[in-house]
Symmetry: none
Subunit: 210 residues, 4 copies
DNA sequence: AATGAATGAGGATTCATTCAT
DNA sequence: TATGAATGAATCCTCATTCAT
């Protein structure tokens, strides 16, 4: 269905901009230029629409993380690096969807969607946490706090998704321009996270002697 | 006015639990056990109520950060440490208010409130960023990315405020118990952020030679 | 058309269970397992479907009453008896249709259908009323109220069609079981109406002794 | 509340004319000349309005029947006569309410209301049935079918409530005028039911001999 | 300061129906 | 004959707000 996909695109945009409750069915219908009743025809309800959006997208995020984790030809540090790169890239290119997802992670209003989102999210978290634990076991990594390392990685990225105005003010430089679409900003963020995590994980130069 | 304060307390709780749009005036009136019309009488409107909550609370956060920044008897690293400690403590003890604030940081629906929140937030951000820049200038710190260091500090903390269910799943240990009220968790978080930031700011090779 | 007939059967069942307005086209389509648009294709509209159901069924009820009325080999009392028997039998075996009919008799919403139903019904009423008048004229019957005798006959039967729950409560005995499908209940009802009407129509003093 | 009572009056009229589902909240609001939202304010929902109407009225019907049943100074036949008189009078003067009630007796859509109505109705039925059983035991009455005697009494009355058009056609005489407001018709109905029931209950052959 | 009643705008959803194929 | 998509009108209800007291 072309129309169905179109409605999902439009509503994802609106949900990401205005939030779920603030976006009305009329908003969606008018922006997508379809009949109001058609949305209910295709998705059953407003919440059904949201669930549909999630089902379609949520899984493929998970898949790539899993692939990285199971790549036997790279070590734990490289895995973490690749995951960071992947996460940042996904968030920056799929902003709308990830804003919607972040909203549902935050808000527990739509219980079912909330629980589902948390479930997917937790699985990814555990993959990353396990990699770190493995690195510690192998003594490649310091004895860090694996869960909170995850919190730092994902928290840093999420923080940058919070608000356009915030990005303009803090990360937009002198011109206060939203850097989200600037590819060099994406690189800057990736590097920062990689380095701060590496500096924390890897023992800082133990045997520097003559 | 005792009643006024009572309404603000109750509504802050509700806003933090259910979000601003989902919380109705009737919810507030019934939970606060006051007449519906009285809320409008005191605060003018629902949004007026929100603004009132912010005005009352937002400033004193700012004040303490500013105080730390201007404490001439401590160096930049110590300033960063104290700020991290302060932030974590505030967030954990004032959960409700900070959830509401985080929501308004995220959502741009109520433009004025959003802008005000961002403004306050940005000021705090700049204070911290300036400290880091100062540290770099003094060559106490590495040449890190000051803005993104702030993103990491605040992002890590905010991530832990996102959702009770998330905390239970990822940070709740085997019993999956929300650790937010556990004082040792607060300590754990503080230490993690302090260390990860320190490892990143301070040149790894300090005295490691003969 | 097999499909057409099938749709009518299914919709009659639904109309009798839930009423006309409460039954939706979707209900019918899904229960009959046909496409929604097909119903409109065949019957023009929801009301068209109802009319079709009536046209198909209503006439043959009338016919039999008329036949009994014109049977010259039986007297008026016997005619009344046969009509009672016929009515009760029809109502009990064709419950669904008669519930729909009773509904339309009661509700004047769909004016045309209501008027048609009343028209058919009134004709039958008049046939019965005429028989009673004839009996009075012939002095076989007492000087009763012919119209209200009809009201009693038909009212008693209709009362038993009102509600399953009512039948269970009042006529279901100790086990509160709906007696409508029990053939002995049908006999009991027939006998009761026959007797009460006979006791009223026929002069009580039959065996004048010395 | 005067307004509340007014809304109930108006909606009872509309429900009796058009039925519950066909009557819209807008119909009620406009006919009662009140704001649409006010109805929900007072009654919570459309069904709440219906329930309110029932609660207010249903009980006092029951009370009078019970009083008659427990009057020790009159015999069973007199009790039946008084009940018939009472029922007919109530139905004719409170047409609207009784039409609404009859509708809910018939329709099982609003389950709770249906069950409540049946419950009240069944209680009244049992009072009457018990009187008849008592009469049979005392050998004042014939061995009739007590439940179906009740069906006849109430069925005859209900039949006359079914439809204005029906009354005009069958009971309206030559001018086809709805006799419901004609007091002589009420008397005629009362007498008919009294007689037909008496003829059935009381042994026909009393002392008719020399 | 406080209240119960009332309001108007707007919410999601459901409905019978129609269209294009 | 049959269908999936689409439509417009109408449904009940909820909301923040205001009014009179």
């Amino acid at each position: 269905m072309d129309t169905k996909e179109h409605i999902m695109q439009v509503s994802m945009l609106l949900f990401s901009e205005k939030g779920f409750e603030t976006t009305t069915m009329r908003d969606i219908a008018s922006k997508a230029d379809v009949n109001l009743a058609l949305i209910n025809y295709h998705f059953g309800s407003k919440e059904g629409l949201l669930k549909n959006i999630f089902q379609q997208r949520a899984l493929n995020i998970q898949f790539h993380i899993w692939e990285i984790a199971n790549n036997k030809s790279i070590d734990e540090l490289e895995k973490i690096h690749q995951i960071i790169e992947h996460y940042v890239a996904k968030m920056f290119t799929n902003q709308e969807f990830h804003k919607v997802m972040l909203r549902e992670l935050f808000s527990s209003e739509r219980e079912e969607v909330h629980a589902d989102t948390i479930a997917i999210f937790s699985e990814n978290a555990n993959i990353i946490i396990e990699i770190i634990k493995q690195g510690i076991k192998k003594k490649i990594f310091n004895k860090v706090d694996p869960e909170l390392c995850f919190a730092t990685i994902i928290g840093t990225i999420h923080h940058l998704m919070l608000s356009k105005l915030l990005r303009e003010n803090i990360y937009g430089g002198k011109e206060k321009k939203d850097p989200i679409l600037d590819p060099s900003f994406q690189k800057r963020v990736t590097n920062h996270i990689k380095q701060i995590i590496e500096n924390h994980l890897i023992p800082p130069l133990k045997i520097k002697s003559i």
